[in-house]
Symmetry: D2
Amino acid sequence: MSDASTALSAEQLQERLLRAPYHQWLGLKVEEVGKGTVTIRATWREEWVVNPDRRYTHGGILAALVDLTADWALGAQLGRGIPTIDMRVDYHRVALPGDLVCKGKIVKQGGQFSVAEAEIFDLDGKLCASGRGVYLTAAPK
Amino acid sequence: MSDASTALSAEQLQERLLRAPYHQWLGLKVEEVGKGTVTIRATWREEWVVNPDRRYTHGGILAALVDLTADWALGAQLGRGIPTIDMRVDYHRVALPGDLVCKGKIVKQGGQFSVAEAEIFDLDGKLCASGRGVYLTAAPK
Amino acid sequence: MSDASTALSAEQLQERLLRAPYHQWLGLKVEEVGKGTVTIRATWREEWVVNPDRRYTHGGILAALVDLTADWALGAQLGRGIPTIDMRVDYHRVALPGDLVCKGKIVKQGGQFSVAEAEIFDLDGKLCASGRGVYLTAAPK
Amino acid sequence: MSDASTALSAEQLQERLLRAPYHQWLGLKVEEVGKGTVTIRATWREEWVVNPDRRYTHGGILAALVDLTADWALGAQLGRGIPTIDMRVDYHRVALPGDLVCKGKIVKQGGQFSVAEAEIFDLDGKLCASGRGVYLTAAPK
């Protein structure tokens, strides 16, 4: 493919994302791709639950959503998958059963590595988690 | 229950962990509980894959394992589930298909919040990811 | 003082900040206090340099500025000093000799702990570092 | 210089460290260089204080010590200064007036980037802060 340095459209990003079995399992749906931004919806499933009584979502699901959403804010820009170097998540409130809306944004795009961040909202628009990662954007060899 | 402040045995931790549907899905098996430490094995499954060609495991799975392993190093000590405040992961090498061995350790146990860390190894003993979290150990009200 | 739970004005924040010898050494000047936001200027000094040839500022200075700026976005709101639980910084570009402008913002204010973030700009408005911290906002006993 | 890939001795590291004005200000003294490890002492000074009543050390000082100690665990190994990509610190207890002993260790050395960690102890051997950073170990161009 010759578009390796161009942005992906929402449809192209959707197709790329769903190559990953874990992304299929998370029920990812690309809602929007902008300049350095993405919005991705994840489809709630019973297996996300950590606490069977209060039924909220496992922090590891929220962490995965922060990682992949920030990552693909960069990936949509660069047109390719990008390795995560490290990632950090802050948990703000429990996410009860329901889909999650994930907004990603590039903080600083660099030649060797880049920083992007993501926010995870429930369907009431409440911020459940946010965080950022550092990604290896050096051209693959 | 009257053991709320005592350590869980490996069997008790296993039982607690598997109350969570996401932990069941991750195929968690408690291998050891020590003083401020835990070893937990996670059972590989096809849905973990992020890259269908190279077939390595999604960073979000590794992040979940870091979070829950560090968390339960504290939880096994305190005998209860403990909310994560924030969590950070460094990715060291790709994890290819195969179970993962997760070692957690308390860094600093405090009255209001505590720090614990975890390392994720593949079955060859190679370190794939490591990280730590801050956990809310204030007594529940 | 009876305003312990109310926001500080810029003048009051300036006075509070300069009680700390390290803040005096950093030459902090409060430029603005808004609703959940602060802007603080730090005055460059020769001792900040890490690389005597290229003369850029030590990452530990930038880290301190991220920490204190995010912290006082909360502190100005709550009217008191607030302990840092943990802090993370991403370095985006070297900061050459010159004052730094530090913008802080509350991400999520909570009863027990809160998250705030900060960006550090040089005088050309370029983003040199950014990060966030988790702060202990439980009422002091 | 032809020793770009060899370890520095404690004396060489001391000399390198003190090229930086901020390291001079921190009163850094290299106590030991091992295989992937360093111990560095920092000399307390009045300007470190954040709280003039309780007189404990500013978190930004501890953050700087975590950053530089982890960094030079790598730097002593590689024989050169290494840029920090990002850094994270957990605060465990306040550091009262007195020198600080900083122990750094490489977690994972890589070709493009590496992870190292550090612990900051007071003179009673109590852990005041710990953390880690990601460092750009790609060969300089």
